[in-house]
Each structure stands twice: as structure tokens, then as C-alpha cells.
């Protein structure tokens, strides 16, 4: 049935977008965590414990 | 000093400075002229149903012109930081918005009326006998554009890339104005013209909603 694969594509694209969005959040979070560690290392003296 | 008298004084200044230099009006009129002429290249002018899609193109030209014309609205006030002087002098910051909306609506209306005959000729549309209806539509449409446009000009004046940002913020917001104005203008310029009061009411609702929003949140737009 032709239109079954259109449903298939709709679902796949939909989930791809959600997963891609979550990945972008995760990636941005990791970059920030790396930044936090870098900052902590460079100025250990006065950085407040997070 | 009341809100209205403040707004009147401010409007007087806006109009006087504009008619002294006339730079805003002249550039806007020429811009709309160019856009309308270019639009008319895109189809066969002798087509008999040009009255159906001509007004749409006309209003699109007005929206583009407005999104560029509203740029200097607050940028001019940043020169010499006159915006701070205004904020200190007026009793209610909404007066500043009222005056700028009045000035922008006036300039837009002037541009639109000057363009009407040119548009009628290019798109071979007749508007005899319907001038009052068209005037009302042009006024309500321009007011809607000015209200939303002045609010967003205050925002974009404080951001980078402001020349590109204002059209980007404003054009999607004005989608209802574009649809409503085009529909009313089409029915006015059609073979048997009639007045779509529903559309006029719709435009009035848009104007009131955004004027109220500006009245509630206007002072925060100017805040430092």
C-alpha cells in the first residue's frame, strides 16, 4: 500500500527531529561541562563548588 | 501634562522634522513605486482578473516598505540620546508610542494614496466611487502596520543586525493584516464592488489588540 510508507516516513522524520533536538541539547550541555571544568582548573582558588 | 497633549506635541515635532527633510517620505514612496512596478512585470497587465491578485501585491509592497520605513523611528532618537530626554519630559511613556504610531500611520497613508493612481493604471483596476471605502481600509491597515511596527522597531533598535531584524520580526506578525486588507481591497476593486464590513471589523480588532498590548507593555520597551 503506497500510503503506508508515507506514514512510515512521517514517523521516522518526526522521531529524527526529536532525537536530533535532544542530541543538540546534550551536545551543548557537554560543551558547557567541559567549560566548567576548564574554568575550575584555571582558577581553583576562588571558584565556588557547584 | 496629559497623555494626549504630550502625544500631540511629540507628533508635531515628528511631522515638522520629517517635512523639513522629507527624507523618510521620499525614500518610502520611491521604494513602493519600484516594488509595485516590478510586481506588475510578473503578469500580463491586460488579464481581466488582475483585480483579484493586484491588491495582494499592493499590500505586500506596503508591508515591505513599512518594514524598512519603520527602522529610523527609534534609531533617530538614539542620536544625542534624545529618547532619554523624552522619557524624562513626558508623564507617560505611552505618549511617545502614540506620537510615533500617529506619524508612521500618516506617512504610510500618504505613500499609499500617492501610489493608488499608479497602481490603478499598472494593474488596470478601477476604484471610482469606492474611494471612501479604500481610504478606510488603507487607514486601518496602515494603523495596524504602524502599531505592530513601532513596537518592534523599539525592540530591534536595541539589537544587532537591526536593519534585517525588523522585517524578519514584523512581516510574519502582519500576516493577518495582509490577508484582511487584501480581501477587503479586492472586493472594493472588483467588477461589482462591495464593502466587506467583516474585514474592516477584523482590521479594527487587530489594531485594538496590539494598541492595548503596547499600552500595557510599552514602558518596558523603552526601559534601559
Amino acid at each position: 500500500m503506497k500510503n503506508l510508507d508515507s506514514i512510515f516516513w512521517a514517523y521516522i522524520l518526526g522521531w529524527a527531529i526529536f532525537f536530533g533536538f535532544y542530541l543538540s541539547i546534550a551536545k551543548r550541555s557537554n560543551d558547557l561541562r567541559a567549560e566548567v571544568d576548564r574554568l575550575k582548573k584555571s582558577a581553583p582558588g576562588n571558584s565556588r563548588e557547584k | 501634562m496629559g497623555l494626549l497633549s504630550n502625544a500631540a506635541a511629540l507628533l508635531g515635532k515628528e511631522v515638522r522634522t520629517e517635512f523639513r527633510s522629507r527624507e523618510l517620505l521620499s525614500t518610502t514612496i520611491v521604494f513602493v513605486l519600484i516594488v509595485v512596478v516590478l510586481f506588475s512585470f510578473t503578469f500580463d497587465p491586460t488579464a481581466n482578473e488582475s483585480h483579484r491578485f493586484g491588491p495582494g501585491l499592493l499590500w505586500l509592497a506596503f508591508l515591505f516598505a513599512a518594514s524598512l520605513m519603520l527602522q529610523p523611528c527609534f534609531l533617530r532618537e538614539q542620536v544625542n540620546d534624545t529618547l532619554s530626554a523624552l522619557r524624562l519630559a513626558v508623564s507617560d511613556p505611552f505618549a511617545i508610542f502614540l506620537a510615533k504610531i500617529g506619524a508612521n500611520t500618516l506617512f504610510l497613508l500618504l505613500t499609499e494614496l500617492l501610489m493608488l493612481p499608479v497602481f490603478a493604471a499598472l494593474f488596470n483596476v478601477s476604484f471610482r466611487g469606492q474611494v471612501s471605502g479604500i481610504l478606510l481600509t488603507f487607514f486601518l491597515g496602515s494603523l495596524g502596520i504602524s502599531v505592530a511596527g513601532t513596537a518592534l522597531a523599539a525592540i530591534s533598535a536595541q539589537a544587532r543586525m537591526r536593519e534585517l531584524l525588523l522585517p524578519l520580526l514584523l512581516l510574519p506578525l502582519l500576516a493577518p493584516i495582509l490577508v484582511a486588507s487584501t480581501e477587503v481591497t479586492v472586493s472594493l476593486m472588483g467588477p461589482e464592488p462591495f464593502m466587506q464590513w467583516k474585514g474592516i471589523g477584523f482590521l479594527a480588532v487587530f489594531d485594538v489588540v496590539f494598541l492595548t498590548a503596547l499600552w500595557l507593555f510599552g514602558e518596558y520597551l523603552l526601559e534601559e
Partner: protein, 231 residues
């Protein structure tokens, strides 16, 4: 110079912070200025002088803390006269048109007479019909001062009024300020180091990194406030 008819205005900063993102322009600033005082603000660039004046003029809101006025009816804007770095007048209008416009906004009665009088006092009577665009820095400062005096304010704020003025304009400015001070106006002015204008001050306060670090009212000498070799 019209004497300040209304009772002079005092103002009080109570633990005021002003934050731009993570940068503190003002940090926990507490300062009380009594009516009629003529306060000079000293401090390096970025010490918070301009921010303090912009908050005092109600143009900017403090992020935290409060600013209160005495001698003003409940929550009524004190309509302070504010002369900043920018002239705050329109280039495309003439000096007279600018003053008439702002007088109309402020609802000043008998505008023409007051504007004419102010223009004479600030020495711009013969240039009243030329556009502000054509004015020099000194002349812009005069128009700005005239604009600030339109509402006959009893609180006047100046942000480095003397910078960029030639000696002749500076002595004119000093004379104007002395007259205003003697007429009971409360004046707060930020100054760039010791200068002829600073000697008018009845009190000097030094700001550093957004807080008060020296105040002649709490013992510091004028000399130390202005030449404080802060860290």
C-alpha cells in the same frame, strides 16, 4: 535664574545594585544626599558615576535595592534636570525650537518668555535660530543646560559637565552652578579629577567599582577624595 520655588529634593540610595549580565556597575551602594547639598562624584572611568546619575534621574531602574526621594509628593517623578554626555536635544531643530518643544512637553506655562530668558542666560540668544547640528561642543552643553532648567527643577544632575569646554565656557559654567547651588538646588555632578567646578561642591564622594569608598561627610578631606590613589 529663577529661584527653586519648590522645597529642595533630597535622595537616598539604599543598598543599590545595578547588574549588566554578570558585570556589576553598582554594587551595594548606600548614599544619602540631603536637600540643598552640592555633591561632587569622583572616581575612575567605570566606577559607576554615570550609572548612579542615570538611576537618580529615574532613567534606569536598579537591579536590586531602592532609591527614594524626600521633599517630593508620593511617587511623583522628581523631574530632575539631567545634563549627560549626550546633549539630548535634536540636531535637526534649532536651539529655540528644541527648548520650546521640551517646554511644551513639560507643560511649562508662558513657554516663549521662559525659553527666551533661558537662551539669554546661557548666552545663545543670537544663535537661537540656527540648527543644533551646527553647534560646537560648548554650545551644545549650553543648550543641554537650558533644557535641564526648563522645568525649574530643584534636583540637578550633571555627568562630567566641564569636559570638552574651553576655559571661557568653564568659567561661565562655574558661575551658573554657583547660582543654582545658592538658590537651594540639590546638585549631584560627576567630575573628572580636581577642577575649578569641583571647588563649588559642599561635599565630595568617591566611587570605586560601584560602591562609595570615600566621603567628605564621613571624615575624608576634599583633597583625599579627589586624589585617592585607589588600588
Amino acid at each position: 535664574m529663577a529661584a527653586a520655588a519648590e522645597p529642595s529634593i533630597g535622595l537616598r540610595f539604599e543598598k543599590v545594585d545595578k547588574r549588566y549580565g554578570a558585570v556589576y556597575a553598582l554594587r551595594n551602594l548606600t548614599l544619602a544626599i540631603a536637600p540643598g547639598e552640592c555633591v561632587a562624584l569622583a572616581g575612575r572611568n567605570g566606577s559607576g558615576k554615570t550609572t548612579l546619575l542615570r538611576i537618580a534621574s529615574c532613567l534606569t531602574r536598579p537591579t536590586r535595592g531602592t532609591l527614594s526621594f524626600s521633599g517630593v509628593t508620593e511617587n511623583q517623578n522628581p523631574r530632575a534636570g539631567f545634563v549627560a554626555h549626550a546633549a539630548m536635544v535634536y540636531d535637526e531643530l534649532t536651539a529655540e525650537e528644541n527648548l520650546l518643544f521640551f517646554a511644551k512637553l513639560l507643560g511649562v506655562a508662558d513657554r516663549r518668555r521662559l525659553v527666551h530668558e533661558l537662551l539669554c542666560e546661557v548666552g545663545l540668544a543670537e544663535r537661537k535660530d540656527s540648527l543644533v547640528r551646527t553647534f560646537s561642543r560648548g554650545m551644545r552643553q549650553r543648550v543641554a543646560i537650558a533644557r535641564a532648567l526648563l522645568a525649574n527643577p530643584s534636583l540637578l544632575l550633571f555627568d562630567e559637565p566641564a569636559t570638552g569646554l574651553d576655559p571661557e565656557a568653564t568659567s561661565w559654567l562655574t558661575g551658573q552652578l554657583r547660582e543654582l547651588r545658592d538658590s537651594g538646588c540639590t546638585i549631584v555632578m560627576s567630575l573628572h579629577g580636581e577642577s575649578q567646578v569641583a571647588r563649588l561642591a559642599t561635599r565630595a564622594v568617591r566611587l570605586d567599582a560601584g560602591s562609595v569608598v570615600a566621603d567628605t561627610r564621613s571624615g575624608a578631606t576634599f583633597q583625599s577624595v579627589f586624589t585617592f590613589a585607589g588600588a
